[in-house]
């Protein structure tokens, strides 16, 4: 009874050990290679689910099947045009040949350090052999100019290579160097890029001076514009006033002429008319020029006397 039980237990344990050595679960995210005494056997296993291998003598090495991330160091490099910048990049990569990968690199962390060497190196090379502008811009797009005065300031200089192209260069070169490692770099991109701190301050100074220039231009434009308006005001004022004066004088002159003609035609008919006019006008003058403050001395040689005399 006891012996029989023991045998059953031993059988069960043996069965479990055997099953454990034979079956292995391959996750959806993984791929694997099977090795026999360290030597890879057969094709890499990529079908997820329960897989079979020979128990005890074969071992399974699991690798990730997904796109893996690689995050670059902050590289501080001068560009061709001697601008010190730092560049932060990232890449995606994948273990495409787990067998080769296992032989060359064995595991992910050693792969990571190889990628660091290769990608950081290629990044430095790429930056050191291009202008900053090429690293920043990707197209030769023309800026949208909103205000006329900005035209001289809003200039996007044209580029020869461009960011996308440089990224592609780094990617191609890195892939060449990783071709025998069983990995493929899917893409490489510059993430962050900026001036190093010391340069940054000088860039700020430049930006400030640029802005001040615009501000000064604005102010001067405002003053100039105001002067133009002021000038045109004065001009228009002079035009209006002098024209009015001229027209008024012309009208008056014409009226004077007309009146003179009328007077002349009436008063200048003949000698008698002239005489009468002179007389009437004199009388009128008397009436107008004399009042209670006037003292009148009428002498015998005066015109008045003659009339006065004739009055007596």
């Amino acid at each position: 009874m006891n012996k029989k039980n023991l045998a059953i237990i031993v059988l069960i344990v043996l069965g479990i050990v055997l099953a454990n050595g034979t079956f292995y679960v391959l996750d959806e995210t993984q791929q694997a290679i099977v090795t026999q005494f360290g030597r890879p056997i057969g094709e890499p296993r990529t079908t997820p689910g329960i897989n079979i291998k020979a128990p005890f003598i074969q071992k399974v090495q699991f690798f990730d099947k997904r796109y893996l991330e690689w995050d670059g160091e902050r590289n501080q490099v001068p560009t061709v045009d001697k601008k010190f910048i730092f560049v932060d990049s990232y890449a995606r990569w994948q273990i495409t040949d787990p067998l080769q990968f296992f032989i060359r690199l064995r595991d992910e962390s050693s792969a990571r350090s190889r990628l660091d060497d290769i990608l950081d190196g290629e990044t430095r090379n790429a930056i050191a052999s291009h202008n900053l502008l090429d690293l920043v811009r990707s197209t030769n797009r023309d800026p949208e100019i909103t205000e006329e005065f900005m035209e001289e300031l809003e200039v996007l200089e044209n580029i020869q290579v461009g960011k996308a192209r440089i990224e592609q260069i780094v990617l191609d070169k890195a892939n060449q160097r990783t071709s025998d490692l069983g990995v493929r770099i899917l893409d490489f991109r510059f993430k962050r890029m900026n001036y190093v701190d010391e340069v940054r301050d000088r860039v700020y100074d430049r930006m400030i001076s640029e802005r001040n220039r615009i501000a000064d231009q604005f102010r001067s434009e405002g003053q100039g514009e105001a002067r133009i308006i002021e000038g045109s005001k004065e001009l228009e004022l002079a035009e209006i006033q002098s024209n009015a004066f001229r027209t008024a004088e012309e009208i008056k002159g014409k009226a004077d002429a007309e009146a003179t003609a009328i007077y002349a035609s009436a008063f200048n008919q003949n000698r008698q008319a002239v005489d009468l006019y002179k007389f009437l006008r004199t009388m009128e003058s008397f009436e107008k020029s004399m009042d209670e403050k006037t003292s009148i001395i009428l002498s015998t040689d005066s015109e008045f006397y003659k009339y006065l005399n004739s009055l007596n």
Binding site: E28, T146, E225, A244, K252, A255, A266, L276, D291
Partner: protein
Amino acid sequence: MSEREFEININPDWLKKYLGKILIGIFLFVMLITSVKTVGPEEEGVVVQFGRFNRTVDPGLNFIMPFGFETMHKIPVQRQLKQEFGFRTSELGPRTEYDKEQYVDESLMLTGDLNLTDVEWVVQYRITDSYNYLFKVRNAEKTLRDMSEAAMRKIVGDRTVNEVLTVGRQEISSSVEALLQEMCNEYENGIRIDQVVLQDVNPPDPVKPSFNAVNEAQQERETLINQAEAEYNRVIPRARGEAKETIQLAEAFALNRVNRAKGEATRFNSLFSEYQKAPEVTKQRIYLETMERILPKLGNKIITDEQGSNVLPLLNLNPVKESAP
């Protein structure tokens, strides 16, 4: 102490009797908690059987094979997720608070004219393909962050600082959105970009005052122009009015002058035609009439003789005036 009490309380007979049932109970309990799964209304359950993708299940109560034969990943496919760049929402509430200080590196970027600008943005996205999201990319969230930063810098790198700060905002966010979606498709990460929203876009702090100075100067320019125009508007219409007045006054003068002349001429002509009939008498009459009107009004009237040598009345002008009638 408690351990001892526990041991004492266990009755070996009782244990023997119920051991089977207890084991079955534990077995059932474990089976239950490993097989019954609830999927939230915004989620989708991805069931993996022996490591292999098997099916996706809908929200509600779901059963899977127990004891880890099947496992479930819950992916919030209905929820809109977001990533913040250049800031983090530190406290949600009536007044949302933001943390910005330590994320300057994230938001500071180079523009196409080699200036610097500070761009903060939010990426709103949704997981549309949970299979790709789980099994195609490792660390999909981090990948998306990297992609988003690269995309934003690529777009901003092709624009001037002025465009980024003013007119280009809308265009930039839609360009980044398109580029980011393109990258997501390329990476097969199962993510759909809903929207890229630009938040604060500013010049870097040290440069800010000079950018404000530009705005001020712009205002100043407008003010100066407006003032000049106001002065113009104040003076010119009035001058026009005055000019019209001057001309009208001249016309009035002219009318007056001509009409008076005509009137006087007519009057003279009438008088003259009568005068011609009796010149001397008429003249005399007019003279007398005039003198009659004038002389009473005059103050002093001195009449000298022919020689005009008698100057006596001139010495006492005032008394004479006083005694005048």
